[in-house]
Symmetry: C2
């Protein structure tokens, strides 16, 4: 430990993102990226802005982008906040709403950045076990002190939590802020966006990284009551005024405007998921029901850690979490039909090994 580190730094347990190999020799099914490129309109929009204007600061409010998101989601522009990926939006939300809280409540199996944020902002992480089938029983969250956060669909399980249960949670706990992290919602789950107008205790967070094929451009957003958005802006403007560069703003604006392309590729991924699930079950895998662009699977006869290594050696990257309850599972991103066919063709050899 360095003598200049604040006490905070040595306590931190930083998040470990999935590998981003610098070579291109893998079928990359490990970080839930979209296998399809961004909309051609995104490429056109970026190209139009690669010019002398890059010498100028971007709009710190990203107002054009906020307006387009507001229009697409049916809210007002003051109900929209944008940030540098949904990770930054989540970090700022923890700072704005949970720092100083008694605790933050989330599932034991969930996005592994939540406990990291708790560590960073010095708030207790209260984890609540998922059911045995990895479903999320929101009744367990009623009446708890502090805020609530969970992804829907959950990660890394892919399971959806129904909107009725979410609405009941919001209605029964009006003084508790509930953040729903909808990074994967566009692949078949129902969004809670429709509840925003009625529940001021709801903040919905989405991203351009998955369904909009823009993981490389780092844009996420939050939708909620104006007071919540104002708090996020206050924290953002006390941390970094211009988190979205000019090209990221252009890219995200165009991506949100091309609804046809968006619907085409997410439908395609849902189809590929259905076929992949069939193929995996045919090989003896157990597959958690998924409404995300990944599946969470285990094989009763094979150790997940070993299978992860074998797949890696065979040129296929998937994600393995060596953690309680899920250390016999693999998370496999849904790629193109061709990539999933290659996975399904190589697996029998590896399983027979």
């Amino acid at each position: 430990m360095d003598k200049f580190w604040s006490p905070l730094v040595s306590r931190l347990q930083p998040y470990v993102p999935g590998e981003q190999p610098r070579d291109q020799h893998y079928i990359k099914l490990n970080t839930n990226e979209n296998p399809y490129p961004p909309s051609p309109q995104v490429i056109t929009a970026i190209n139009r802005h690669v010019d002398a204007g890059l010498r100028l600061y971007p709009d710190p409010q990203a107002l054009s982008l906020c307006e387009v998101i507001a229009g697409a989601t049916g809210v007002g522009v003051r109900n929209v906040f944008v940030g540098n990926g949904s990770d930054e939006v989540l970090a700022l939300a923890f700072m704005a709403f949970f720092s100083g809280a008694e605790q933050v409540n989330f599932p034991d199996i969930t996005y592994s950045f939540y406990p990291v944020y708790c560590g960073l902002f010095g708030v207790k992480a209260n984890t609540i076990p998922l059911e045995d089938d990895f479903s999320l029983d929101l009744r367990r969250y009623n009446g708890l002190p502090g805020g609530i956060i969970f992804p829907n669909p959950n990660a890394p399980t892919g399971r959806e939590t129904g909107l009725q249960a979410i609405e009941a949670l919001l209605a029964e706990n009006p003084d508790t802020l509930v953040i729903i992290d909808e990074a994967y919602v566009d692949f078949g789950a129902k969004s809670a966006l429709s509840l925003v107008g009625r529940y001021p205790n709801l903040l919905v967070i989405q991203t351009f990284s998955k369904s909009r094929s823009l993981a490389g451009m780092r844009v996420g957003f939050a939708i909620g009551d104006k007071g919540l958005i104002e708090a996020l802006n206050r924290v953002k403007d006390s941390f970094n005024s211009y988190p979205l560069d000019r090209l990221a703003q252009s890219a995200a604006t165009a991506a949100m405007q091309d609804g046809i392309y968006f619907n085409n590729i997410r439908r395609k991924i849902i189809e590929t998921r259905t076929q992949t699930v069939e193929g995996l079950e045919g090989l003896g895998f157990e597959v958690v029901p998924s409404q995300a662009n990944f599946v969470f699977v285990r094989h009763p006869q094979h150790d997940a850690g070993e299978l992860y290594e074998k797949l890696r050696s065979a040129g296929i990257l998937v994600r393995y979490f060596n953690k309680p309850r899920i250390d016999q599972y693999l998370r496999i991103t849904i790629g193109t039909d061709d990539e999933m066919q290659q996975l399904l063709q190589r697996l029998p050899v590896l399983l027979a090994d």
Copy 2:
């Protein structure tokens, strides 16, 4: 105040960035942007990456960029940290080194984001007055508890602090972390980068927004002892793993590689500054000696706030800070020769008004 806000949010006094008007009808001398476009090699590098690869996450470590910065500054790659603009680097540095400290020491007249960070991370801001001529006497910082931060050249004054005084400060206070914010160093001041190897208590922060003409792409960096860089990485990976998108990484890498273009435009700006200072002094302005891409000026016969408004009405944006000691000054960015000629031609009319 909203019932969901953390106690922190209502206490915050967010930073107010200079105006970024959405129309293009101003001569924009208010946010210290570079009047020249980025290097043609930057444009080429970005264009090469506007493709299907945007669907993939960027390298969270931005290793290629760090390697190029390390090569250009003569340090090892583990001495380099990159972030989303130098504002994000500063914010993470405050979190990593100053949170929990007794106080942070900086000049009374300086970059107005420093007190904002103190508010965000709950640490006392101890401001130390600049001398009457706005020079920074670093001997006043000897033996103080907590860390030290100042820009060199200082903002918004433009005055340089000599390297000898900086080295004396580092040598006399080996247990105190000193952060030097060199956002404007490339316009004539001496960088403290040469001291990094000898003083583990020194962190130097620079940006691509000014001398590299990339304010629109949000890239800043820090150079220091490995232990300091490790702390920054730990905090960054507990906040947002991928703050630099793919195009920002490509742009900054190419900008750092084109040293010839960099030297040409910064020399040009220094020349224009010399001419601008002469012109302003000819009109009766007092100009603080500047080694930055801006000048800090007052006119003994004219109220600065009124002059700011008159310039704005005449289509010229400059920066006015309504704060103690500097409320009779204007900060004027050095633009192109043509822009500065227009300023010098319109001023006599406004002064006679």
